[in-house]
Subunit: 107 residues, 2 copies
Amino acid sequence: MDDQSRARCEQLATIMKALGHPTRAFIVMELAEGSRCVCELTDMIGADTSTVSKHLTVLKNAGLVQSEKEGLMVHYSLTTPCLLKFYSCVEDLVRKDMEEKQKLLQN
Amino acid sequence: MDDQSRARCEQLATIMKALGHPTRAFIVMELAEGSRCVCELTDMIGADTSTVSKHLTVLKNAGLVQSEKEGLMVHYSLTTPCLLKFYSCVEDLVRKDMEEKQKLLQN
DNA sequence: TCACTATTTGGCTATATTGCCAAATAGGAG
DNA sequence: CTCCTATTTGGCAATATAGCCAAATAGTGA
């Protein structure tokens, strides 16, 4: 594995890792509907504000979301709608996996 | 967040988490070229065999790869080519992010 | 200025992940 | 059976992550 390949893998892994938490997955799906402020997300998630804020920081550091300040509130939004195709692809995968398991159970 | 939504997020996060490690990202890209046995991957990665084996287990538990035994060797392959579209989408994102940073540096 | 709200940051503990070594398991060849 | 190779598993120490609380920061309005 050369340096370039290594760098590429690390970049991909960083993004995937950022998406690899249920709360952050939820945030991404919610932001796909439109921008939300931290307090809205916090209400929906039901965790401490600081916890939600930290999850948002992780997503931001990975370049997946961006934030904009407006008065007291900070609005977060997806940097790209690409993430959605992304999720639908993963869910196809999950579906396929479930079907496999069903088949195995029937045999 | 209702139970169904929570379950969906956990499923997505499990898969993303499995992809969220440089070595596993490499494995997925390598398997996209064709099936590989553990020893081939170990040579390329340059880590302990047991380490590589455990990474493969993580990918397998997430339903991303499958294994087939042939003699002494175990051949791993992707369960779905969908993962590739997936990565190209992420890399578009990375590229976009880089361009943004370039722009910011220039201003 | 003071009080109030929204958000971020620091610090802490609990938990999870990683990677190595050693040992166990499984199959092939003599 | 014995030796050898490929792979997996168990165990351990180092590191990373998550979530809460408390405190700091920032903006709003009286």
